[in-house]
Symmetry: C2
Subunit: 371 residues, 2 copies
């Protein structure tokens, strides 16, 4: 999926400007992340700590997790009166098409802050870009101590294998993802793709982490075993409605909607546990589910006409920043139609949320590489 990347740059539709939901998700997972860092420090002597953030994207969130991890280590240093870690090797990972230039330009200011706030000299922190898919090896064997990934693992490596073939790709007519109306074969194809991808992810990280190393993962999931539950797929349901309304006007080909299936999967905890246990090299410390508002928990009152409009627009912008590259590549949508699509989507979302406060389910888990 070479075309999957967050919207680049710093403009109005950029991911950098529309990633408050992901920021909220990071802050919800923070206590679990801090706990995992501290537990690891208690059991390990680390000369040079290898930290990877997988699916770092670009914008204000890219370095915030790294900063939190380093804060936790530095606080532990102060608490215990000795340096637990003398050097950080930080790896920022995302797909080849990610806007690394944007992150790298923010590094001088980040290094300045490390020096001012934490007293860290430039020879004790090395930040590197590690482009590539995390569904496969990214780092040398036994080179990492801590792996973090937020809002990334719900993206599959590809459209579920079966659904790409010409015979089957219209199985999911009028939908972008699993829906109440999707046949079982669509649901099965999604689950199979998730299983294959997630197990490859776990296997790859198992090689890269040292024994006793930790991994904190946070991504969209569902709390029910039913994959058509509203909390796991309704954002796609509404986006399909918006696309369909443009298709009815002949501004988007309906056929292209029928053949589009998002490379996305929101698993339930059982599906995750299965793969981790099958692979066998990690123990699960925590696995928790959190509800997250579609707008990241803004305080706007949805029950006023203005509030409805404003929340709808905000959600639409946040989703646009993430899915625009995919839609553009599949549908070949012109910029003005794209603008129109997300205006409609915002209206539909606002109306929906004013009636039913659907939430995302975000799963957070802490894993330990066995000794």
């Amino acid at each position: 999926m070479q075309v999957l990347h967050m919207n680049k740059g710093n403009g109005d539709t950029s991911y950098a400007k529309n990633s408050t939901v992901q920021s909220k998700i990071i802050s919800v997972g923070k206590p679990i992340m801090k706990e995992a860092v501290l537990e690891m420090l208690c059991n390990n002597v680390i000369e040079s700590m290898g930290i990877a953030d997988l699916g770092c994207s670009s914008g204000p969130n890219s370095l915030s997790v790294i900063s939190e991890i380093m804060d936790t280590v530095e606080a532990a240093n102060r608490l215990l009166g000795r340096r637990m870690v003398s050097e950080y090797r930080v790896f920022l990972n995302d797909l080849y098409s990610n806007d690394f230039n944007n992150i790298f330009m923010s590094l001088p200011a980040f290094y300045d802050r490390l020096k001012e706030e934490k007293g860290l000299e430039c020879e004790s922190c090395f930040i590197l870009g590690a482009p590539g898919s995390f569904y496969g090896r990214l780092f040398p064997t036994n080179s990492l101590h801590f792996v973090h990934s937020s809002s990334s693992l719900h993206w599959l490596s590809q459209v579920p294998a079966g659904l790409e073939s010409n015979d089957l790709k219209r199985l999911n007519k009028g939908k972008l993802y699993i829906s109440k109306s999707s046949p079982q074969s669509v649901v099965d194809a999604y689950l199979l793709q998730f299983r294959n991808d997630f197990s490859l992810f776990i296997k790859s990280r198992s090689r890269e982490l040292v024994a006793g190393g930790r991994m904190v993962l946070s991504f969209m999931g569902r709390s029910s075993t039913d994959p058509t539950t509203e909390n796991s797929c309704y954002q796609w349901e509404l986006l399909a409605q918006a696309i369909m309304s443009l298709a009815r006007e002949g501004r988007i080909e309906e056929e292209k909607l029928d053949s589009f299936n998002a490379p996305y999967y929101a698993p339930c905890t059982e599906e995750i546990k299965d793969e981790i246990q099958k692979e066998g090299s990690f123990t699960i410390g925590r696995l928790e589910a959190f509800e997250i508002d579609w707008d990241g928990g803004a305080v706007t009152d949805i029950h006023t006409p203005h509030g409805k409009l404003s929340v709808g627009r905000q959600v639409a912008k946040a989703i646009r920043a993430v899915v625009e590259s995919m839609l553009e590549s599949h549908f070949g949508i012109e910029p003005d139609v794209m603008d129109d699509l997300f205006i409609r989507y915002g209206d539909i979302v606002g109306t929906h949320l004013s009636k039913s406060r659907t939430k995302y389910i975000n799963l957070v888990m802490a894993l330990t590489k066995k000794w």
Copy 2:
């Protein structure tokens, strides 16, 4: 010098499309680089080989050196019938503002070639981006085995310190670099900046390389001890002429030309040896000088009117791709004036080369970190 970066992208004025001189320089240094790799392999057992290319820029040259180094190791493997290196950790370095996005997008094809041509699986080669200035630490202590840098170390970390102050910055009136008419204080300021920068470079790499590790450096220099010798500075002399001709028409401020001094220095071998010996942790294996044509050795006949024009234009484009970001930031030149400047520069260069075949002097050296 945050604004120093090669022209981005793949367009007509991009560095990617105008870097044949740098490619020529890489190929001239290749035998020395290959020799250094082989010597190092003979004396070291390397599980995971750390290779850094410093000042990698973007475009076709960025991965060519890495590819050559890996070819050499793989050929040695075949020769000796055993794997000398089982894993490559490759670090591509350049300043924060370099076009890393462009390099990273070319990695999938590069990995495919590694697999096809060398049979290397994805778990045996990890290519990372390491943004930052090489005048300072970039990598953990003792983490590298081989450092390469081509066409980068003639760039200073800043305009020579003394020449930036308001009192002194007009000392080098009408010139961009050391010139026959520059006062001794200008020449001294350049030499001092080079000494400080180069010694910091050597000291930083000394910490990062393992004992027995190698470093092959190649950059512009001079064969004479006289810093005003034509081979070391005449490209700047002619660029100053082109800027002056626009200044006379009021299209560029002459005052800005007076206050511009390029953060560039072409040292002689004695100046380099001095700093390496003072630092003390490297032995010098080779230090050789090569003449390089300004146009990278194209076969065009300069003595026809067409040839003169064509060579002049080519040299102007190659230099534009390198210095445009600096000129833009200092002079605030509009795009049409910039185009005009490099048309004039091309004419001046063509006329000069048809009379006197001035060459660049490229210095190549192989250093070994002492045990």
